[in-house]
Amino acid sequence: MTNDHPPDGAAVVVDGLRVFRGSREVLPGISLSVPAGQVVGLLGPSGGGKTTLLRSIVGVQIIAGGIVTVLGEPAGSPGLRSRVGYVTQDASVYGDLSVRANLTYFTSLVGAPRSDVERTIEAVDLMADADSRVDRLSGGQRSRVSLAAALVGSPELLVLDEPTVGLDPVLRRDLWDMFHRLAAGGTTLLVSSHVMDEATRCDRLLLLREGRLLADETPDGLLALTGAPDAERAFLALIETEAAL
């Protein structure tokens, strides 16, 4: 893949991205693209560089080299700040404010209509707790508040770092359904996870291990490629093939 001719309809194009954290090279020159309007899963073991890649795409990571283009602009451009929603792994919302007060603040920051507050509270199913202080909620509820704060203003690209960690199966299913509804409406979602069984819920998969891209495939394509019965075993098969080379 060359960056001279980015694939049509790519929301994110990463070309030769290199990132150091401390003296360790976390991403030694990675290239990939994220097609627009799809739910793309970024999978791989912890410590493999998923968060660093997401931070680079959002534009909050100091990078050592390479080009990251998001929605046609360099990552982190001022023009992108209301077009990209970012949810960090830990819920980064104000614990001493209510759910509604948090979302009211984030709504005003991106200049979204006030109705977005109620819309996003409903989207993450927190209507019953809208007036509770965030630090009195459970961990799963807190991460949903954090997700809701990224949904205000309906950004074109949503970058979600492990949004379903610690959630029960029903809620996880509901969130993935919501991700697909958003994608059907034209939003691009890049969702990281270290739970391989979430792979089947994605339109497309990026497998990342030790800073390198092992696969960029559809879930079916990945199974066909490896002949494995599920994503977890497909991932293991890819690692073994690589080790044998």
Partner: protein, 244 residues
């Protein structure tokens, strides 16, 4: 910078403080208790008239320094700062929002503490009383601005609290409250000349002793405001959108 984003941030900070009734109570009540205590200790002497007003300038500085450094540290360590800087919010909006919110709190604190000192403790003020409130608010802004700057160098809330004696106490010792500044050893007098709290205390002292003090107080207030702007400018350098 955008007034809309600045105001939204100030409102959010005030909501956070408002939700914490104990902090709010401490902000308002503690200065009154300390001033009352001082007036009682120096009952029937001239000492309270001499140091009461300067302390009205020191309390808001100390309190706002503490509150701001801990709040901004929390903002840095909880990940909300990183999130905010990924939105259209500018660094200037962030800093101005904080200054505005704590400035508003300082107005309330200064009104209550000054009123208490004058009407309950019988503090004599030769100059205009409203200027006392103005100086107190500017001192509070100095505390907020210093707190914003210093919070960048603290990793934990413990460290942030330790910065209080490190930053505040030397200024307190050298501001002329214990020994008049012109009687300090020359090196220390020079040092006290570059510390902002000295001017805050000078302004308060002038106000209580001279009926026609507006000009001199205005000069001191302008100097303190200069330090406020410098601390905020330095603080904005410590806010980074991109981090390693």
């Amino acid at each position: 910078m955008s007034p809309r984003l600045t105001l939204a941030t100030a409102r959010r900070v005030l909501q956070q403080v408002g939700a914490d009734h104990r902090t709010l109570g401490l902000l308002i009540v503690v200065p009154c208790v300390l001033i009352g205590l001082l007036a009682w200790i120096y009952n029937d002497t001239q000492v309270f008239d001499r140091i009461g007003a300067p302390l009205l300038g020191v309390f808001p500085f100390v309190v706002m320094f503490l509150v701001t450094s801990v709040t901004t540290l929390r903002e840095r360590s909880s990940g909300t700062l990183e999130r905010l800087l990924a939105t259209p919010l500018g660094k200037g909006d962030f800093l101005a929002g904080y200054a505005l919110a704590f400035g508003a709190l300082a107005v309330v604190q200064a009104l209550v503490a000054t009123g208490f000192a004058i009407w309950v403790c019988g503090l004599d003020v030769a100059g205009p009383r409203w200027l006392l409130v103005v100086v107190a608010v500017v001192d509070a802004l100095l505390g907020t601005a210093s707190g914003l700057f210093v919070s960048a160098f603290a990793r934990t809330e413990f460290q942030a609290v330790q910065f209080m004696p490190a930053v505040v106490l030397p200024q307190f010792l050298l501001c002329g409250l214990l020994v008049p500044r012109e009687l300090l050893p020359p090196a220390l007098e020079l040092l006290s000349d570059v510390l902002p709290l000295s001017y805050a205390v000078d302004a308060m002292r002038t106000l209580t002793t001279q009926p026609d003090a507006a000009g001199e107080v205005g000069r001191d207030v302008a100097i303190v405001l200069g330090y406020v702007v410098a601390a905020i400018a330095l603080g904005s350098l410590t806010l980074r959108r991109r981090t390693p």
